[in-house]
């Protein structure tokens, strides 16, 4: 299933690309894409894994781009 999240503080396109790559490598994420212009992140994952995956995603964001946050 596909989930869309809004991000905040995504200041550079290169960072968005790095973040996209890092999140795409998380186990359980089958596809991830981040649009720098709209600051939206789309993640594809299994419904039952969502909670665990999102925890990892947030951790990855904190690690790769500490200035960026996920709006809930």
């Amino acid at each position: 299933m596909k989930k869309v999240y809004q991000l905040e503080g995504l200041d550079c396109a290169n960072c968005a690309a790095k973040l996209e790559r890092a999140i795409g490598e998380i186990e359980g994420v089958s596809a991830a894409s981040i649009s720098f212009m709209t600051q939206r992140m789309t993640i594809e994952t299994q419904e039952d894994q969502l909670a665990g995956v999102m925890k990892m995603v947030k951790k990855t964001i904190r690690k790769v781009e500490p200035d960026c946050t996920l709006v809930e």
């Binding site: 503080g9 200041d11 690309a17 894409s33 649009s35 212009m37 690690k63």
Partner: protein, 617 residues
């Protein structure tokens, strides 16, 4: 400006004031160092902090680190003013860059501002204001004058005109009256409408459009991928070059100062940041896609926009794409002694009980209300036409064969199209020509295509060759292939595709109804009249929301402009950087110029990228 940007602006201002004071006050020794450090700290503490944080995470060569090293290095060498000034300049550049990104994000968001915020739904005799997502199919919503229609539906009460500009870029208003289908995203004009919802919000036109444009950036263009690949090699290459620059000359060149060359290497690194490219290239494509959607052209990905700029062969379907797909009386040719009006009247009455498209077009052309009482004994002659008694006269309306069977021989040849001959009481009275109408802007559209660089225009149709040739001639289309079955169209497109040059692209334009296989076979599949047709939105790469073929040339113009902007930015950014890198290595360019090559170039490239948003003429 965001809050963060305002705060940053205050910090830059404060830093600049302290810096000015430090330059003017006649201070000595530690006091002097103290005041410069204060200016430096106010301006750049976050850069230092990020540099430290990133090193802790094993990421060394980022901008923050480079700026920190360069400015701290200046302080160590005793060049306090340079340390502060470079940091100040860097922050100003970063601020402008952030501001430009913010501005462009906002203008793109404005373009996309067709999402309705609420729906007035009628429940239990009350009107409630709810989120459009909460409205179920079959519920009734109320749309007041000036409001956006939140969900697709059917008008059950009220009449009004709708502004569809946000969806189609077309300012001509559409009529809405009971029974009419209306689309979400349109703005209601003067009347109050009650609408029965026929689609969930997620399936409604407005959601589909937004989803498509927002996801468009995930299909990356070749030049975007080029930049990503480029950045991967570029950064390590520059870092290695900088390291060599710092180490080799002092060892090889006699009398070369180690500190001098380290300084040059630092400058080298600051210049090298690929930010200008990494930001501006995707931004240009996004701007192009956003600007196109404003003109009623939906592009599903940057790659399609890039390919469209290279269109060499444009293949068009006839019916529904170049012609309106509805039959219309295009010519009335009475025999001498009969007037046009009377001929139409007889034909319309003779066919007044038929529901055939030809009968419908005759009645439409006649234009007046029919009085069924005047018609008696209508009879159909299969494959020939119809006869009926109208006001007591025997009227026959049908093809040539029918006339010949009645012993009449219409003189002259019949023009192209469907011809209805009319005889009254056994006397031949004239003919009416019915044909599919060519769209008003079709001819202009074909001329424009040639002007924007398309080499060949080709028309495919299942229609008879005579009709097809006629349309092609009127529109100045290069080639025609008529009498094709759907499978034949696919084969023809494949054949044409093999004829194009290596870098050229083949675009197919259809109305999306039964063109799906051809749309997917072409390099770029373009569907016309996407408004309300889900099939077209699914199958095509580019959707033209209204029915106008002239939008094709507009789309190509937008794509060419976008691609040109992307090239300009790549050449400009790399060019400036190459020059300043060379100057830096020779010791001519100082830290100032280096900072300009980094943030200044990025800022200018962003400004240029924003041009892609503006509409093309």
């Amino acid at each position: 400006m965001t809050r963060k940007q305002k705060r940053m602006l205050v910090r830059i201002g404060a830093g600049a004031v302290i810096f000015a004071a430090a330059m003017l006050l006649p201070l000595e020794g530690l006091w002097r160092l103290g005041i410069f450090l204060a200016a430096y700290g106010v301006t750049g503490w976050d850069v230092l902090w990020r540099a430290v944080r990133n090193i802790a995470r094993g990421k060394i060569f980022d901008e923050n680190f480079l700026m920190s090293i360069a400015t701290v290095g200046a302080f160590v060498l005793g060049e306090y003013p340079e340390g502060v000034a470079v940091m100040l300049f860097y922050q100003v550049g970063e601020w402008f860059q952030g501001y430009a990104v913010h501005r462009s994000r906002r203008s793109i968001a404005e373009l996309m501002d067709i999402r309705p915020d609420y729906a007035n739904v009628e429940r239990d005799g009350q009107t409630l204001r709810v989120d459009p997502e909460e409205v179920a199919i079959g519920e009734t919503i109320l749309v007041k004058p000036g409001e956006k229609i939140p969900l697709d539906g059917e008008v059950i009460q009220g009449s009004s005109t709708l502004d569809t500009a946000a969806l189609t870029g077309e300012s001509l208003p559409r009529e809405a009256e009971p029974g009419a289908e209306v689309l979400s995203g349109c703005i209601n004009g003067g009347g109050l409408l009650r609408i029965r919802v026929t689609k969930h919000f997620g399936e409604s036109t407005v959601s589909k459009i937004l989803e498509m444009v927002e996801n468009a950036s995930s299909k990356k263009a070749r030049s975007e991928n080029f930049i990503t690949r480029f950045a991967k090699y570029y950064t390590p290459v520059v870092v290695i070059a900088a390291a060599l620059l710092a180490v080799v000359p002092p060892l090889v060149v006699p009398g070369a100062q180690f500190s001098e060359w380290v300084h040059r290497a630092l400058i080298f690194l600051v210049i090298s940041c690929p930010c200008a490219l990494v930001i501006s290239v995707p931004m240009s494509f996004f701007g192009g896609i956003g600007g196109a959607s404003r003109q009623g052209i939906l592009v599903k990905g940057s790659n399609y926009l890039e390919m469209l700029a290279q269109s060499e062969i444009v293949v068009l379907d006839k019916t529904g794409t170049l012609t309106k797909g509805n039959f219309q009386v295009t010519e009335v040719r009475p025999e001498d002694g009969t007037d046009k009006e009377a001929l139409l009247e007889w034909a319309a009455y003779a066919e007044c009980y038929s529901s055939h498209p030809i009968a419908l077009s005759l009645r439409r052309a006649y234009g007046r209300e029919l009085e069924p009482g005047r018609v008696d004994a209508p009879e159909e002659a299969a494959g020939r036409g119809l006869t009926a008694k109208v006001d007591g006269h025997l009227v026959a309306a049908g093809n040539r064969k029918m006339m010949e069977e009645m012993g009449l021989s219409p003189k002259g040849t019949d023009p192209v199209g469907t011809v209805v001959h009319v005889a009254v009481d056994g006397t031949y009275r004239g003919r009416i020509v019915i044909s599919d109408e060519i769209k008003e802007d079709a001819r202009q559209a074909m001329e424009e295509l040639k002007r924007v660089g398309v080499q060949r225009t080709v028309m495919l149709t299942g229609d008879a060759p005579a009709v097809a040739e006629d349309v092609a001639k009127k529109l100045a289309i290069d080639e025609v292939y008529a009498g094709l079955l759907p499978l034949g169209k696919v084969e023809k497109v494949e054949e044409l595709w093999r004829q194009k040059s290596k870098n050229g692209r083949l675009a197919f334009v259809g109305d999306g109804i039964n063109d799906a296989p051809v749309l997917s076979r072409a390099d770029i599949g373009i569907a016309m009249g996407g408004l309300g047709s889900d099939a077209a939105i699914e199958a095509a790469d580019i959707v033209i929301m209204d029915d106008k073929p002239s939008r094709l040339a507009t789309a190509i113009k937008i794509s060419k402009k976008t691609v040109r902007i992307v090239r300009e930015n790549i050449v400009f950014a790399l060019g400036v950087k190459a020059v300043i890198l060379a100057l830096g290595a020779l010791g001519i360019a100082g830290m100032w110029l280096a900072v300009f090559a980094d943030v200044g170039v990025a800022f200018l490239a962003i400004l240029n990228a924003m041009r892609a948003l503006r509409p093309v003429k």
